[in-house]
Each structure stands twice: as structure tokens, then as C-alpha cells.
Amino acid sequence: MAVEADLAPADTAAPRPRRRWRLPSAGVPWFSGLILLLLVVCAIGGDALTPWNPAALDLRANFQPPVWAEGGSWAHPLGTDNLGRDILSRIVAGARVSLVVSLWAIVLSGGIGSLAGMVAGYFGGWADVLIMRLVDIQMSIPPLALALILAAVLEPGLETVVIVIVVTYWTWYARIVRGEILSLKERDYVALAKVAGVGSATIFHRHLAPNILNTMLVLATLQIGQVIIFEASLSFLGLGIQSPAISWGLMLADARAYLTNAWWAITMPGVAIMLVCLSSNLFGDWLRDVLDPRRKQL
């Protein structure tokens, strides 16, 4: 470390004073990290973790309130729904659908969108015009209308949900990645690589891709919440996951009719959706700050 001390930059500020005095961002987001971890554990553990069989009916025990409300018991900590199914167990079981849908949706839309964005940004010209007009057209179609059409053509179900989400969200990645590439390819180090005779493929994987990776990671994290809400909306409308499969959106739809006499049946999955969305946003923000290389200069 002696060398490092010797080389310690004291005039780092020279041409780029921006962010110079920025305070270090808040620490690791324990809360959101924990919620996301819990989501993953529930999704993997699934039925093994649930106190009750999430699909088991028990009509004698229907509409049990949560434990802290009057008449609630520890047997069903978050209460039961109209068919006497344990809400906690169903939320844990529904986590799997949420996570599977968001992972697939993110991987596919991220992959397709980023590739399109890179091609559009790096090569420009006709490829750029074509891809970006496609993005514009895509973005002008209301996602729910698209979902209705697709659900009518295909069968409602997990695959359809994923397809609808991918078709809707690849444009995000395409636009943002294209913008990043456009600015990255103007960097002097890219020009210098060309001066040294480095080929396009190498420039792509050495100088462009690593610098986009962070953006994509942040975007993906932020998207988890979006995708989970979207899946819930589709399932709520009956266009997504179908009974007897379990999903948070479906739980909301089932409980809607009993809103007045069993508020918990609709509130509990709603809270689960909210917590996961909030966590993914907070975590994404934190990730963006941590991965910003400028932060390391401070």
C-alpha cells in the first residue's frame, strides 16, 4: 500500500469538480435486502416452509382474522380467506410465482432490449432508425390492451404473463442502453482503442459492455417491483395466473368480493406486493450509487 500512498491523488479535482464534495451515500439497505432475501427463500422453499397446505380448504375456519385482531389466533397468524385457506401460507407459496415471473421477464426483456439498444447505439444508421421506431410503436400501445389481446390469442397462464411483460418492458432496456452506448462510444478511450487497431468486437466486450452492465443491473433490480405489480394486475384481471395456482394478484382478485367483512384477505397480499416493490426500488437506488465508479474517487 506504500505505493498507493505515494500515488495518492491530491489534485483529483482537476477537470471534473462535479460530485467532488458529495457525501457518501447511506449505508447498506438492510431492510430492503432482508425483504428480497425473504422473497427468494420463500420462492425456493415454497410448500416446505408453509405452516398449512396453501391449497387446503377448511370451510369451518373461513374468515379468521389475523392474530392481533379480535378473534384471531396463532393458528392462522394472518387469518384465513373465504375458503378457510391460510393466508400466510398462500403468500409464501405465491412468492414463487412472483419471483419466477420477474426473473424470466427481466432476463428476457433485459437480453432482448439491451441487444437491440447496443446494435442501435453502436451501429446507428438504418439499424438505429428501425429499432427505435419499433420502440416508439411499442411504447404507444397500452400494456393492458396488449395483454388482453395476447391473452385472447394465447392461453392465460404463466407463459402469457411473461410474454406480455417482455413485450412491454424490452423497450426500457433498448432506450436506456442505446443512450449509454451513444455516450460511451464517444469516450476518448474508445477512440484510442480504434487508433491502436482494436477491432469492433473487442471494443464491444472490453470497453462498452462492462460499462453497461451496471446500468442493466440497476434497471433490473428496479424492475422487479414493476413486474410483480404487473403480474398481480394481470392475474387480478383474470388474464394471468389461473386457479388453482397461487399468485398474489389472484389472491387480491379472490378477496375483492369480501372486502367489507374480511379486510385482511385483500390487505395481506397487498402489503406483500408493496413491501417487495418498495424493497426492490430502495435496493436498486443503493446499487446505482455503489456501482457508480465516480463514487470511488471520493
Partner: protein, 340 residues
């Protein structure tokens, strides 16, 4: 001549949509010069004069609209791929911004060795040795290879950029404002380093700069650019001691001296640099020229031999009229006399 520009022209289409074009920026108009090994040619001018575009053309980062870049007597501007190997391994560059010219995600060793790995199929150990050598030349410790660019100051980053340019043992360097992003005391370090390297390895330099004092100090030959065209060029001493073009005279008169006893800089020319989108007819400088007369707004001035190896493009010199303005004399309007 090692590296030559022959009648380079670069025009960019601007505005408009896909199918129509709104106009053309005349970035570079008929620029020619040549650089010998071990010598430095400087292009000097104000922002927007096209000097950086010339640098990009010389590095084959842009394709000229007309004219060619000639390396070792061979036109290289039309070539691509393998035919360029020699040029790509022998002509390297150092740019202005030491922050943007180093990839923040690569270690210094990787950055410096990048050009090596493209051209020479050398082993890792050999490449490391060459990196160590290059770092030593620019005065950085070997341990620097293991660090990331953000761990260095601006001046040190510029040293890394120079080491990278030297790794291939090139014959020519294009230096685009290599010190203007650096602090005053660091500039001298870098300029001296570049001079030492030139002396030791006999490199040819093309330096792009706006700082006249730096150019006078650093270069053997100088070309003064205005709105895309060379207006005066020749040995640096001749151009700076006996500037014949009114623009060169104005530039020299405008530069402030770090000496309160020196006459303050003189405001000689009016207005600001014209638009490269629609350059003025005739001599490009005539709307600002204190000596403009009849032919200036109609005909382009011819190239005149002004003696001692220098050339200029000005109607005053065609007419053979005014006495050259010597250094020290106030180069104010009227001093050179307006031809009747």
C-alpha cells in the same frame, strides 16, 4: 516525410432528416502539411477552427471528404483492416482529457498493454515487461500497473495515457491539446516529458493546441488555422517572429503576457469566429480583418511564399504591399497600413 496531409477536406452533413440534408459544416478545407521524424508540427487556432478534426483525420478516425493521409509515402486514408496494421501500430495518440481517455474499469497495466495485445503476439511476460518499460519512461512506478485510473491525479493519468501511446514503440504521436486539462505546474512536467521522449526515440509529433506560447515553445513548424483552412504556416520561429497574416498577428497581439510591464494585450480584430456552416466568401477572415480591402470578400487569396520557408494566404501579400509586422511593434490596426 513520415506523415503527411494532402489537401484534406472534411465536410459534415448537419440537420435535416433521413432523406434531406439541411447543410454542410465545412470543418476542414484543403489542409496540407508534412512531418519529418523527430520534428513537431503544431496546428494552432481558436475553437471551431477545425484543428481537432484534422487530428481525427490524421488518426483515420474520420474519413476525409477529399484528399488523403499519407504515411511513409503511401496513402492510408482509404485502407481498412489488415492493410492498416503498420499505420495502426506506428501512429498513436494522446488526447486532452485524461479522465475520458482511460477506461475506468481496467487496471493501468491492462490499459497500457491493450495496443500490444492487438499487434504483437507476445507472451504475457513480454507484454508485462513492455508495460514496465513504458511506465518507467513516463516516470511512474511499476506498481502503478496494478491500480485503477481513479487512483491517480490528472497529471499522472496523462502520463499513463502517454505510456499507453508509447507501448507499441510508435514512430509518430498525435497530441490533441495534451496539457490543457492539467494544472499549470503539471503542464511543464508533461511538456518536458514529451520533449525528452521525442529526443530519445526520434518521434514525429503533430500537436493540436490553442496556447500560442506553448506552440512557440514546443514545435518546430506551425500552421495557423482559421475556419477550417490554414492561413499561415512555416517554421515556428518565422511564423512567430514575422507573422504575415493579419489573423496570426491578431492572435499574437491578443495573448496576455505574464508580465505587468509588457504592453497589455491588444484588441485588434472585431467580432467572433464565423460559422463553418456558411463560411464567408473570398477570404474567410475578411469580416474580422482590420486590413480588409477590395478583393478580400470576392476571391480566395492565393498561397504566397513569405520567405524563410513560410507561406501565407492573404490578399495583402498578393499585392506585395505592407511591411511585415515585427514582434514588439504594436500590431494594432493601421500599423501595417491599408493599401490604397
Amino acid at each position: 516525410m513520415l506523415l503527411e496531409a494532402r489537401h484534406l477536406v472534411k465536410r459534415f452533413d448537419v440537420g435535416g432528416g433521413l432523406f434531406r440534408r439541411a447543410g454542410q459544416v465545412h470543418a476542414v478545407e484543403d489542409v496540407s502539411f508534412g512531418i519529418e521524424p523527430g520534428r513537431t508540427f503544431a496546428l494552432v487556432g481558436e475553437s471551431g477552427c477545425g484543428k481537432t478534426t484534422v487530428a481525427k483525420l490524421m488518426l483515420l478516425l474520420e474519413r476525409p471528404t477529399a484528399g488523403e493521409v499519407v504515411y511513409r509515402g503511401r496513402a492510408v486514408s482509404g485502407l481498412s483492416g489488415g492493410a492498416l496494421t503498420e499505420f495502426r501500430s506506428e501512429v498513436q495518440a494522446v488526447f486532452q482529457d485524461p479522465y475520458s481517455s482511460l477506461n475506468p474499469r481496467l487496471r493501468v497495466g491492462r490499459i497500457v498493454s491493450e495496443p500490444l495485445l492487438v499487434h504483437n503476439r507476445m507472451s504475457g511476460a513480454e507484454a508485462r515487461k513492455r508495460v514496465d518499460e513504458a511506465l518507467e519512461v513516463v516516470g511512474l512506478p511499476r506498481a502503478a500497473a496494478k491500480l485503477y485510473p481513479h487512483e491517480f491525479s490528472g497529471g499522472q493519468r496523462q502520463r499513463i495515457a502517454i505510456a499507453r501511446a508509447l507501448a507499441l514503440r510508435p514512430k509518430a504521436l498525435v497530441l490533441d491539446e495534451p496539457t490543457s486539462a492539467l494544472d499549470v505546474s503539471i503542464r511543464a512536467q508533461i511538456l518536458n516529458l514529451l520533449s525528452d521522449i521525442q529526443e530519445e526515440f526520434g518521434l514525429a509529433y503533430l500537436i493540436i493546441a490553442h496556447d500560442l506560447a506553448l506552440v512557440e515553445h514546443f514545435s518546430h513548424e506551425t500552421g495557423v488555422m482559421y475556419l477550417g483552412a490554414l492561413v499561415e504556416w512555416g517554421p515556428t520561429q518565422t511564423v512567430f517572429d514575422r507573422p504575415r497574416h493579419p489573423y496570426t498577428q491578431a492572435l499574437l497581439a491578443s495573448a496576455p503576457h505574464p508580465d505587468p510591464d509588457h504592453p497589455p494585450p491588444g484588441d485588434v480584430i472585431r467580432g467572433e469566429i464565423g460559422s463553418a456552416l456558411s463560411p464567408p466568401a473570398g477570404c474567410r477572415f475578411h469580416p474580422r480583418c482590420p486590413h480588409a480591402f477590395a478583393p478580400c470578400d470576392r476571391a480566395e487569396p492565393a498561397t504566397t511564399d513569405t520567405g524563410q520557408g513560410a507561406w501565407a494566404r492573404c490578399h495583402l501579400l498578393d499585392a506585395g504591399a505592407p511591411a511585415p509586422v515585427r514582434r514588439g511593434e504594436p500590431a494594432r490596426a493601421g500599423a501595417a497600413g491599408r493599401p490604397a
